[in-house]
Symmetry: D2
Subunit: 497 residues, 4 copies
């Protein structure tokens, strides 16, 4: 399919694609695929006003009814899966299979959110006072600002939006400047659902296109009680305090520096598959990409050799073409950043295999993913470079391996390949990984939506998706009701006037 | 009992009370009751080091065993209840009954935490992949910094410490500069428990005495992953961003501006009792003190008259003496702040009854609690003045009353007196109070420890005590274990190397 | 629409409707609408074998994938809503609106079950032993036998089937002998979903048509670990012990004798609407039908008069026709039972209004719903008569009213109409209703699927639908994993060999 | 200590020990240690009346206050630990260490129940109707009958009593006829706690001594809504249907036939320790005793040899003496049963080592625990013989091993020793053990109280102790409150009168 066909299959038309000041280039071949209108700070403030009005109505709509809207959204996503998956591939550069996977995640979270809409469970609690009942209920927050990143241009938005909406909130979405088109397409898909739904208020979902000033308008506003932001640690270090000083809430999903420990007992064939998928998938530009391989010394050579074999033959090229496993990097800056990191790694003692430019499609920045064998966990290894670089480290004891794994500022995802339950459970225990995600015998990326997604330390501490992550989109209220005709005090205090 | 007897009954001796640079005066009579040694920034850093070491051991101690330590702490608190309650009264100025109530809260939270130590429930979760199991576990965080305020000098600490400790953390406690003695006494009580326990590591609990620099040393440290801070909104506005920029977590319990709506159907006798207890208790210096009374116009005159009657006869005086209901304000600054607020209120159209100095005990700052009848909810009403001032507002419809209740920057506690279930449930619904606590037919203060305590907006969003508030002291980890011999990907992605 | 058109719209064809020994008559007009083949005991045993085989596969299918099948079932139900709702009306005699409501409940439970399929939450639990982890997981049970009643011919089945299926079980459904056609139609709808799903094993759902011997074959079989049975207390008294003696599990949903307390403060207009809907809906043949009205003496006359006014004008007739609110009784036996009860009530002092036959449609048994004013709660009042009879009792104090409400052998549903929160919360407290369902200001029938449905005492104790009712379809397993190299014993026991 | 000293240390006096018709012999030496008065059916009925009265008060006492009573009970148990542990050893014959462990379990469950008393969490639930709120609360049941067995004469009672009491119920305890003295001692310990508590109603705990007629009086009574019975499958087959026919609830803890799978990768030293503790502890008379060893063929000989080595040197004798690991069987019938089983096993192809009488203490029935190597899992292996017999079976593949493990009628406890996480997680999955308890690298006995205890199939399905087992002692109530001024129906039904 031509670029134009992909855009049009995703319902984008001239009004979306022309006349705006934001030029969107496909990483596949550098082609200009849209000139998108951007929003000013004043536009955003107007959006916030609209979202507040919508909230005043939406919060009173019963949650199961709100769930029905998200059910319809899921249906529309099912209908549009192919078209949207292809657009993701075109705009973000990930291979089509991964584009489809992303849309599937959107669908999955809708399904989960629909069920959730009849739950939103608070607690009833035993009171210490006779004739009193206690309970805890969860109420909607208000306007939610979602700031998303280019590498998961639609799925992470959907994690937030599906839950935020059934919880009774209204959403303003600021997509990455690099991927506004997928956002516009998703908004259209949602509007189809809203039209079928019937009486959804205007302003349940608004898309704010632009750069830092748009983000700043959202994060600074007292009228946006929750900011859910995915991106770099640098961004999080600005957003977090900005929202904190106005007593807002945040869900931060920032950098990862994800490792895999490979123990001598590991199934090496599975390990290799997991390593390659998580290290080169999305061309190493996932927050959960595998960046560090911590291998037991006894199997290190064997494993690295196998990996080099696979890396040497990886099909690199146009991500829309079947069979390709490695697409382009998002842009030249990303490519340069990778080269820079490889230089630093060499300077710090690393031996680099791969990493060179590949002339796959003209106009795109294609590279061969790199394996970098390190002697120590140096500064560059502790730094998250958003590129397909896999640092290899060696360990002797499990304690050593865990210490290496934990000795980075980030805390998103981690995993161990081992068949020894004593090792695997240690890795999952308080003595093990310090990450928000810790897996056994699967890679660090590719989480299911049933669990809570997010990480610790510089990853920012936010949680999205499953488990009780929905609570982040609500406020908790503790209620005590005195239904007696007396007025006893808690803690048995006497106070007789 | 003499001051000296109270101090000695609470196990404080010359080493605690003399030679230090922090002079502690009892608000009861202004007497100097201690010269307490303070800590430098370097001291605090050393404490953090000790606490980190202790954490390395403590996190591996099974949680039910950690619970046993807190059970013993609860026993020692039971033994020391009278002595500690009296010390609270002496140092913080609240009446002895309330001092006892505070210790009872400490005991209650210990009991709850002991049970909790066998729970700390995470989830097992259905996985979408064959041969995979998912679960979520909660692990300890590390060093917890607890910053507490003078008005609840020991209970709020205990809420944090009991849970933090069973969760596997170690604690550094910075009490208010105004109430270091109760902190030192509590530390001694804890040490008795630790001695009985046997093998608790050194440094489970350390007390850091001092001012803003001690607080800053805690909030700035990357090695203190959680700061739980109770105090003013002003303080929270500094602490929140400071911790956020280093990706720490916070539990903020800041200002409240708590209201009661009194509907025509209310049981007025109970309402009066609840109003007086929550407006004048602790001399209006609770975070949950009742500050705003929103009365239906039909019963306003009747209610205000009753209140004036009670206020006129309130027993004001030495809080250690039986029968007294209103003790002193904490210090001259507090007294001045109250007078200043009353002046402003007058200027904004308020009619003030009471509020004048009462010569109860020489050296103390005693006042008659004030009732201020307002025409509108002006600036001073929206501001939290930490003093026994009760603003009275009038309403006509419940919607109006709720709008008044919500139209302040703070969001801690709130309540309605009404016997009409349509009103009371509306007040508890998404259309009702925007506070963290919303009660029916009881006042805004005096929460039970079984529910989560805390509030929204400028109150800071933290939750302590019951429900699942323990989660704030732990980090969540999502685990997926592949126990099959295959390696399927989530979302059905195909990626064959 | 003609009967034939209704049958054919519901996908029933000659193969379903002819040649069998079970003659199905529509209660609407007594017309023969089907001659359905029945199953022998041997047939049922064969079905159990098939279901066991299917279970061996299905239990290994990941729960979210099982959820996808139920999602498709929900979609097919949406498509067939009108046709199935009309068939329910034709075969069970309830008005079309209620038929639609029943299908909507099926759809709702499917939506809930889909979300549930990614949850099925067990717990991770703090272990008292170092190097040990504890958790609790839920596993499927096996073959589930669902025995349903004529009055909710499809919804109650769906409550069970949707949850049982996502939980990993396979189902054999024995519908009422009076309503086999709706069961056959539902099975066809499910088969459409299964076909779209692709690889569902044969035997996920089988329908066993027949009488007591079919039920007995299910209840007696060791290979059916769970029997979920809806019906009379008499039936439950047989099924319960039968399953217990082979250590099976049961979900029993038996008789109700549901009451409403109407307090002086009640909104009488709403009360009247609620009373009429719950007392005459489904012609008084719901398990949650309102059977007893306990009215405060001060408003009794006023309320009864209003009710008599409405009862006198109720549109009684063909339930398929718009505007009709009261359809036929299910059969002559039901009609006779009602007349018999009215006779007894008279003999016990009751004053009867209504209750007489109405010649609405020839061949059907139509009656005017009856109001029976009683002096006392006599034997006939304590007995559940499955007919539109509303007994009216009077009370003076709330305690009296609650005592009357509780003084029957059944414990399904109950409600209070009162605007006084002290009364309503008392009714919901341990001092209040002893039923599984207790409502405020709504009638006893018409539960939402988000809560658990079921009752106490002779109602049988089962729970279906929302909350954690899904656990009844699974077995709980407690796991302790020792991942250390030591072997400590629980409770600190020493045992050194 | 002499028998008399042990009895007196446990507060038993002449009034308890003389004049009654139930003769209690110590299994240690056959000595008559008590002649205990028994209760008639009429006595039990009177007790039920008392318990009902107590319930009417106790159910209204706030749960945290009820928890305080159990906290005091825990304190008194701590004080009496040694004395009660020794009495357990004397009366039940288990070694003193295990007697202490049992009391520790009582203490542990008290601690857990105290925390639980502030939880008893129900849910608040999202309603589909505007102006409606839903919640679920848990209320006390009434009188609970606890029937306990000789082998855990006090701990299992405490599991039930501690939770039942904080849940608001009152208890009648029927101990085993073989162990009434420990029950009387526990009652006295509880009475100390009740005296300290102050205002506990009479009849919170009553002990009914006697045989089957006492049990029958409890199980038959409509006024005992819950029977928690521990004992044989034979007993359960009577109790279950008896209670079911009157619509009571049961918690059944019946027979186990617990297995351990030992895989080639297992740590054999730990396996041997776990096997011996769980197979010979309490002389093989625990419900969780290890009865079947399913060993991989490659390590079978090695393991069996090791076991025979340990078995040959087991210190068998007076359980009150330090160092002894194997005490007496409970009585001659148990001894005969064991011999009978060994005969049958031989006849079915088994090779028996050990099993012979040991002349340890005159008057007691002491045996050497037996190892029986089987070729197949024959009838006697599938039967639970309450004696220290360990059947050894061999397997080749894990599937085979799991099939052997599951192919018995009982479903209590199970475990695997393996270090391969693929094996251990398979064992814990839906494809693995069918038991209520499944452990990894620990034996089948010695559960912690934090998890739910109980089993499937002929084990009866009950759960006690931790997790949400407390729910079995309460009734669930689903509440919907309409606080609007409208009356919408669920499922969108239209019904306009």
């Amino acid at each position: 399919m031509s670029h134009a066909d992909i855009l049009s299959a995703a319902m984008l038309d001239a009004a979306d694609l022309t006349g705006g000041s934001l030029k969107v280039h496909s990483p596949v071949d550098g082609a200009l695929i849209g000139e998108v209108a951007t929003h000013s700070r004043a536009d955003v403030e107007k959006m916030i006003g609209t979202a507040k009005s919508a909230f005043a109505d939406w919060k009173l709509v019963p949650a199961p009814r709100r769930g029905e809207l998200i059910r319809l959204f899921g249906e529309e996503l099912r209908n549009a899966k192919d078209a949207l998956g292809r657009l993701v591939s075109l705009e973000a550069g990930k291979i089509f299979q991964e584009g489809l996977g992303e849309v599937q995640e959107m669908i999955d979270i809708c399904d989960l959110a629909v069920g959730q809409s009849r739950q939103l469970f608070g607690l009833t609690i035993a009171s210490e006072r006779p004739g009193h009942s206690m309970r805890e209920t969860w109420h909607p927050l208000g306007v939610v600002g979602v700031i998303s990143a280019f590498n998961f241009p639609v799925a992470v938005f959907a994690w937030n939006f599906a839950l935020a909406t059934v919880c009774g909130n209204t959403t303003i979405w600021k997509p990455s400047e690099k991927t506004p088109l997928t956002a516009l397409a998703v908004k259209k898909i949602f509007e189809r659902a809203a039209a079928r739904f019937g009486d959804a208020p205007e302003g349940l979902l608004q898309v704010a296109i632009g750069g830092a000033d748009v983000g700043e308008a959202l994060t600074a506003s007292k009228d946006v009680p929750l900011i859910s932001a995915t991106g770099s640690t640098r961004m999080g270090r600005i957003v977090g305090p900005r929202v904190a000083e106005r007593f807002g809430k945040t869900i931060l999903e920032l950098g990862g520096n994800n490792a895999m420990i490979v123990a001598p007992s590991a199934d090496l064939d599975n390990a290799v598959r997991a390593i390659v998928f998580s290290a080169v998938g999305t061309c190493g530009q996932r927050c959960t990409s595998l960046r560090r391989l911590i291998v037991h010394e006894d199997i290190r050579d064997q494993l690295v050799e196998k990996l080099k074999g696979v890396y040497g033959k990886l099909p690199i090229g146009n991500p829309l073409e079947p069979g390709v496993l490695v697409g382009p990097m998002i842009d030249k800056a990303a490519f340069d950043g990778m080269q820079h990191a490889l230089e630093k790694a060499k300077a710090e003692g690393g031996r680099v295999t791969g990493g060179e430019r590949v002339d796959a499609v003209e106009g795109g920045h294609y590279v061969r993913p790199a394996i970098v064998e390190m002697v120590e966990q140096t500064a560059i290894v502790k730094h998250e470079t958003f590129a397909p670089i896999l640092y290899v480290l060696t360990y002797r004891t499990l304690d050593e391996a865990i210490a290496l794994q934990n000795d980075v500022p980030q805390g998103l995802s981690s995993c161990i390949f081992s068949t020894d339950v004593r090792e695997t459970e240690t890795f999952l225990s308080a003595a093990g990984s310090d990450c928000g995600i810790a897996n056994v015998n699967i890679g660090p990326s590719g989480a299911e939506i049933g669990g809570a997604f997010g990480g610790e330390k510089e990853t920012g501490g936010g949680r999205e998706s499953g488990s009780d992550a929905w609570k982040a989109y609500m406020r908790r209220q503790t209620n005590t009701v005195n239904y007696s005709r007396e007025l006893p005090l808690a803690q048995g205090i006497k106070f007789d006037i």
